[in-house]
């Protein structure tokens, strides 16, 4: 028991780190769902592409000798910006090719297309890596190897970077959605597409912008993920995407604040169950069941509070 209490701060720090990453990826799901009512299944793969691009940028900089003497913050910023630009454009491209032609199809058709995009991206990245490095996993340079000792726990600096960057991204997004002209247009389109278009809002452009922002946030999280866990492979996006989607549903899908809270909550729950499930059941059920817990939360939320923690209940109309 004492031992369990002793590791608690460490477990919470891990959970928060994971949770903030879920939160930023969940934002991508929630923004697209808020506007198109469509689960962008390939969003997890955008995150994965972002992780690879960011890591490749750092590796190339390292190979060119640019990392020595360079402030690690600037290196991270460069990786983040390049990754965000490319994944943002990738998201817009996917929307243009695979989703826009299907906007008026039955709802399952774009979902099937999205599953296809998701598999395609996994294999394309695996190919590119295999051609380039002859292996499909990738280990990048760690920019922040240090640890911050605060007495009860040791916080890795990289975890702190993840949390701070995630918070900054969320604040910027909140500001953008609530205060800028384009943000207001996005909210208008989410509320009513046809009325918004009558108010001279270019709906197609707003949807493109939504994909651009959502995907670049996903890509940025990918870079943070790679920094935090070291080694990445083309299949990291799938499970993380599922969890982030769970977080979005938990908070209330379509709701930006809900996605943030849901993500952090899910990360902490997962970390707690990973650490304590084994000791609490005397080893009968170990930490390998943490994914089961996460998915069970998704199912329970959908059953008992489908609108999520912050969402509003919607009555179905004929």
């Amino acid at each position: 028991m004492e031992n369990m209490l002793q590791i608690l701060p460490q477990v919470l720090v891990d959970g928060l780190t994971l949770g903030f990453m879920y939160a930023v990826v969940a934002l991508g799901y929630t923004m697209v769902y808020g506007i198109l009512e469509f689960i962008n299944f390939s969003h997890g793969e955008i995150f994965m592409v972002g992780a690879f691009i960011g890591t490749e940028v750092l590796l190339i900089m390292d190979a060119l000798g640019g990392l020595q003497g360079l402030n690690p913050f600037i290196a991270l910023l460069m990786a983040l910006v390049i990754s965000m630009i490319i994944t943002g454009m990738l998201g817009v491209g996917i929307e243009r090719v695979a989703y826009r032609p299907l906007r008026n199809s039955p709802r399952l058709v774009p979902l099937i297309s999205a599953i296809g995009v998701s598999f395609l991206l996994q294999d394309v990245v695996r190919f590119a890596e295999a051609l380039h490095r002859d292996a499909f996993y990738l280990t990048g340079p760690i920019l922040f190897p240090g640890k911050l000792d605060i007495g009860i726990a040791q916080i890795p600096t990289k975890a702190l970077i993840v949390i701070v960057t995630a918070i900054v991204l969320m604040i910027v997004l909140s500001f953008f959605i609530n205060k800028t002209k384009w943000g207001i247009a996005m909210r208008a389109v989410a509320q009513d597409q046809s009325t918004a278009s009558l108010m001279t809002i270019n709906v197609d452009k707003v949807i493109m912008l939504t994909f651009l922002i959502g995907s670049s946030l996903g890509g940025a999280t990918g870079v943070l993920f790679a920094q935090n866990y070291g080694t990445i492979d083309p299949y990291i996006g799938f499970i993380l995407g599922m969890k982030a989607f769970t977080a979005a549903v938990l908070g209330g899908i379509g709701n930006v604040r809900g996605a943030m809270v849901g993500g952090v909550l899910l990360g902490v729950i997962e970390s707690l169950s990973g650490a304590y499930l084994g000791p609490l059941t005397n080893g009968a059920f170990g930490g390998e069941y943490k994914d089961v817990i996460a998915f069970s939360i998704l199912i329970l939320v959908l059953l008992f509070k489908p609108e999520g923690l912050f969402g509003e209940a919607v009555k179905e109309k004929v």
Partner: protein
């Protein structure tokens, strides 16, 4: 039988003579060139050609039976690789037809379908190995091969119960949420099978179950692909028959009504949850039976056989072939399985030969046999964009409006209509 004739309706039939010539050509080619993959694939495709042939249905069924029961076993029976391919095609056809009930008829996108397949496979696997001794006292296991036949039913029931248990909570959510939730459930089932070696060792965890007893009947052991080919054929026959019967039954029409519009169906008195549950349970039960056969055929199962990739693969077969269309789904399953087990492998061998000859060098990651995800991805996107209804779109039986109007019951007026028109309601 009218439903059957209608299903077989087509616009441009192929002349009978051409079909016979095709079958003869492929048979002779396979007989002369024992290893010709092309002629074997041609022979399998002849079933599709027979389907489009201009002849009455009994002749077509006889021809199809001849090809599947006589020509293929006789010409390719000696080649265990061909029989293996044919058996695999059969297994996936049966599974895809099961998923077709859930996705095609009832319109419920189930991304965790492989969980039911796993349930059937593990049901047989656990009791047909010494594994069951771990939690049932008395050293009764492994069961003998005669039990295989009983386990076809057990697998069906286990999977159906699984379907109902999973369906009860899951089916309350709608549309694309359902897809994600079933996906989550599929993962949960896989993780549980992977970890259920403690506290009580039920599934033997990631090591899986090996040396599963092959089926036997009256002292004869069925252990090679040649035998399984026939077992699978019998199962497909029943699955297709059940699909045809269900499609135009009251239940089948209720499924399709739910697919088209849940609210409208509900207001017509269809119980949403019950109808969806039967769809889930029926689809699951097919997968359960196939799971038992799969376990017996492989003699080894472990959780890696039941990943999301399998679920997606079966979904690709249904969507590509034509969701809701029985001939379409059979075509889709055949095509995708051939692509996976034969064409990609052939291409990969060919490239391998090239690289050994030093003509080109490819990293092992680019091996076409590892291309599965890419191929599935591209197929799904193309299908969604250009053929959302599949290669052979499903067709509803056209009701003869004139016949309905002139029917005696059409004259009856009930409720307020009877009062307004003054006619008595004759029951």
């Amino acid at each position: 039988m009218g439903t059957f004739r209608n299903l077989m309706a087509k616009e441009q039939p192929i002349p009978l003579l051409l079909t016979l010539a095709w079958i003869a050509a492929c048979s002779v080619a396979l007989w002369v060139l024992k290893d010709s993959v092309t002629s074997f694939v041609g022979l399998i495709l002849s079933v599709l050609i027979i389907y489009y042939t201009n002849a009455n249905k009994w002749l077509r069924m006889a021809l199809g039976g001849l090809v599947l029961l006589v020509i293929i076993p006789y010409l390719a029976g000696g080649n265990s690789y061909y029989m293996e391919v044919a058996t695999n095609i059969g297994i996936y056809v049966a599974m895809a037809l099961g998923l077709n009930i859930v996705v095609g008829f009832a319109g419920l996108l189930d991304l965790g379908y492989v969980a039911f397949f796993a349930a059937g496979a593990y049901a047989y696997g656990i009791f047909a190995t010494a594994q069951a001794n771990e939690f049932i006292p008395g050293d009764l296991f492994p069961l003998g091969g005669e039990w295989f036949w009983a386990f076809l039913i057990v697998g069906l029931l286990v999977a159906a119960v699984f379907g109902i248990l999973l369906g009860l909570p899951v089916l309350r959510v709608k549309g694309d949420y359902l897809a994600i939730v079933t996906l989550g459930f599929g993962e949960i089932v896989r993780i549980i099978f992977n970890n259920l070696d403690k506290p009580v060792n039920i599934t033997n965890g990631p090591q899986g179950l090996s040396s599963i007893t092959p089926p036997s009947l009256i002292g004869e052991t069925f252990s090679d692909a040649f035998h399984f080919y026939f077992i699978v054929l019998v199962v497909i026959f029943f699955v297709v028959w059940a699909n045809l019967k269900l499609e135009h039954s009251k239940l089948g029409r209720a499924w399709i009504a739910i697919r088209e519009d849940e609210l409208a169906a509900q207001s017509m008195g269809i119980s949403l949850l019950n109808t969806k549950l039967t769809a889930f349970a029926t689809g699951a039960s097919f997968a359960g039976v196939v799971g038992v056969i799969f376990a017996a055929k492989q003699t080894f199962i472990d959780p890696t056989s039941f990943t999301l990739m399998e679920s997606i693969g079966i979904l690709v077969m249904v969507i590509l072939g034509g969701s809701g269309s029985i001939p379409g789904v059979i075509l889709g399953a055949t095509f995708v399985t051939l692509l996976q087990v034969q064409l990609l492998k052939e291409l990969s061998n060919y490239l391998h030969e090239l690289s050994q000859a030093g003509i080109l060098s490819l990293p092992s990651q680019l091996d076409p046999s590892k291309l599965q995800r890419l191929v599935f991805g591209v197929l799904l996107i193309l299908a969604a964009l250009y053929r959302p209804n599949g290669l052979i779109p499903s067709r509803r039986k056209k009701e003869d409006i004139g016949a309905i109007k002139s029917h005696a019951h059409a004259e009856q007026k009930q409720g307020i209509l009877a009062k307004l028109t003054g006619r008595k309601n004759v029951s």
